[in-house]
């Protein structure tokens, strides 16, 4: 039986290697079509910088999904944390930027999880309500600023290092380490996963479900907060979105998480996430280089990627799927 298992693992590994080679090969061939613009240091920097935000969001989503919750308000949370981070950053420098952003992320997620817990409205529907509220707050703030004759919060150009090379590399590395430890090596992370996977058993094993979930929400909020900070640093300002349009900002990280769930069989999901985000960003990047404008076929392909990876992830699933 052990031999069987190890040989099965071996074929799995071989398959994985073949897939990686194919992907690299495909990128290599396409690279020639775009005159080598794809594989270059400057483009790689662009790629990494661009995928930093979705990577952090995806890490946060990982904890939320582990807790068995789907939350659409993340896009609006990012906007708020970026705005507050920017405003505080201008007043207090880096500490204000970072702490402000993170604090907003954590507080909002704490509110969300409390709302889901208390109202018992299914999280994805209540999330829509929270999205409306957060979007409105951001929009109202922007409007106030404009009414006072000011601009939407614009981060001091001297404070924008976190959204650019080389700081993003450090942030990503640190984020990876923290996310990995929290997800795999802490009581809090393990408890969240246990509750999300099988609440009754987790409770039987002595885990307090509500407490575990809320800690999970705080961890996720932490990552969303950092994503907000990077967002503010990257662009210098964020524009408030209304009418639920902030939801579309989480599609890419969502696709990355799904892809990571497929990769999970080979590597830890936390490590898989940056790979997945980079992979998807690369496809978009290539498409842009090939002259496909963003927002059209790129979006379509994103949708197809999500479905295809969803199908692969569910290949052996036999239970009831709603």
């Amino acid at each position: 039986m052990n031999q069987e298992a190890s040989s099965a693992a071996a074929t799995k590994r071989i398959k994985a290697v073949i897939v990686i080679i194919l992907v690299v090969l495909a990128f290599g061939i396409l690279n020639r079509y775009v005159d080598g613009k794809f594989i270059s240091v400057s483009n790689f920097n662009v790629l990494i910088t661009g995928s930093a935000i979705p990577t952090f969001v995806a890490w946060g989503l990982c904890f939320i999904f582990a807790a068995g919750i789907t939350d659409f308000s993340i896009g609006a949370v990012l906007i708020l944390s970026a705005t507050v981070g920017g405003a505080l950053g201008n007043k207090m420098g880096y500490p204000g930027l970072i702490l402000g952003g993170i604090l907003v992320g954590m507080v909002l997620l704490l509110i969300n999880f409390q709302v889901y817990n208390i109202t018992k409205i299914p999280s994805w529907i209540a999330g829509l309500g929270m999205t409306m509220i957060y979007e409105a707050v951001a929009a109202y703030y922007a409007k106030l600023r404009l009414a006072q004759g000011l601009q939407v919060v614009q981060l001091d150009p001297q404070l924008r290092a976190l959204g650019h090379v080389p700081a993003v590399y450090f942030l990503l590395a640190a984020g990876l380490a923290v996310a990995y430890l929290l997800y795999n090596r802490t009581t809090a992370g393990l408890n969240v996963r246990a509750v999300g996977s099988n609440g009754t058993i987790a409770k039987m094993m002595g885990i307090h479900p509500v407490k575990a979930l809320i800690i999970g929400g705080l961890i996720a909020g932490f990552f969303f907060g950092i994503a907000g900070v990077i967002k503010e640093s990257y662009a210098g300002r964020v524009i408030a979105m209304t009418g639920l349009s902030s939801i579309s900002t989480i599609f890419l990280p969502l696709a990355a998480v799904l892809l990571s769930q497929v990769l999970q069989k080979y590597i830890n999901i936390i490590i898989a996430i940056p790979i997945a985000t980079l992979f998807i960003s690369s496809i978009f990047n290539l498409l842009t280089l090939l002259g496909v404008p963003s927002g059209t076929w790129q979006e379509t392909i994103l949708g197809v990627i999500v479905i295809v990876f969803g199908m692969i992830a569910q290949r052996k699933e036999k239970g009831v799927i709603k």
Partner: protein, 319 residues
């Protein structure tokens, strides 16, 4: 006795609707109740109910269809493009065929590959939105000639009434509708009784797609052409309406067409009332969010009640 209590819980959505209506009527000195505004309200309710009729089949199974906004936009846009070339007669057939196609794809992915309906239809929505932008980037799409009459209030109302009669009949009084609800109650049970769950599920997504495409055509004619915001967040509004009306997210026998209609009115009255009360646009969105969650919370709170009560009654009967 129990019947009466059950009815009380079913009344909550109605009470919520009339309560909100009353509040807005007072706040706006009756402007909300003016005949002109009533027409506006009904006009906004029409697409939600029309689209919701199809989605009800999906929701009653405990699944969701988030792709209808995209379906509406893409099917209507393609329909209008073809109608512009070959004539108005092609508008509806083409749109409906595309609606069916999207429904089949959704249904097949969900039943064959066991991907959750939430993920599948969300991804479908992203894809369709991208595709819509691609279509619009090539060409400006106008409503085809001769379609202006579709914009009329009464023709839309008549279309809605006919749709409610036909689809409502299908949902409430035929085996198909009952099977959908049974799947929502318990999918394993339904399969063990002998229902073809996969077929029923695909049919429900097709119906959802067809109704969405009809809404898309009406909306396109209303705007006079297609735009990238056509049908945007339509799916969220429909879902909200259904759940506000008191349909449980798990689906099942609690799914009723009248609940969809009540929910649609509630959501529109909230939006319309806030608009007329001159509430600041961004604050209005927050208030909407809060009100929606409040109504949902109350509905859920009371829909859990009757079961407990009947349990006690059953214990009494046993003794």
């Amino acid at each position: 006795m129990i019947n009466m209590k059950l009815k009380v819980s079913n009344l909550i959505p109605f009470i919520a609707f009339f309560g909100l209506f009353l509040v807005f009527a007072i706040a706006t000195d009756g402007t909300v109740c003016s005949s002109y505004n009533m027409k506006v309200i009904v006009g906004q309710v029409i697409p939600i109910v029309l689209g919701g009729l199809g989605v009800m089949f999906v929701v009653s199974q405990g699944s969701v269809d988030l792709s209808i906004g995209g379906t509406a936009a893409v099917s209507a846009t393609v329909g209008a493009m073809i109608a512009a070339q070959y004539g108005f007669a092609f508008l509806f057939p083409v749109a409906v065929i595309i609606g069916i196609l999207i429904g089949v794809i959704n249904g097949m992915i969900i039943t064959r590959f066991k991907v959750s309906s939430f993920m599948t239809t969300l991804a479908m929505l992203i894809s369709l939105r991208g595709f819509l932008n691609y279509l619009l980037s090539k060409d400006v799409v106008f409503a085809p000639d001769g379609s202006a009459f579709l914009n009329g209030f009464y023709i839309q109302l008549i279309a809605l009434v006919i749709a409610i009669i036909i689809v409502g009949y299908l949902f409430e009084y035929t085996k198909t509708g009952r099977c959908c609800k049974a799947i929502g109650e318990n999918e394993t049970t339904s399969r063990y009784i002998g229902i073809n769950v996969s077929k029923t599920r695909v049919i429900s997504f097709i119906l959802s797609g067809v109704m969405a495409s009809l809404v898309g055509v009406f909306q396109l004619c209303k705007l006079g052409g297609s735009s990238s915001t056509l049908g945007q967040f339509f799916e969220m509004r429909v879902m909200m309406a259904i759940f506000l009306g008191g349909v449980l997210v798990t689906g099942g026998m609690s799914a009723k067409i009248y609940k969809l209609i009540v929910g649609a009115f509630t959501i529109v009255v909230i939006e319309n009332g806030l608009l007329i009360s001159n509430v600041d646009g961004s604050i209005s969105e927050a208030v909407q969010g809060i009100l929606l969650m409040l109504v949902l919370f109350v509905t859920l709170r009371f829909s859990g009640g009757p079961i407990k009560r009947t349990k006690k009654a059953a214990a009494a009967v046993q003794k």
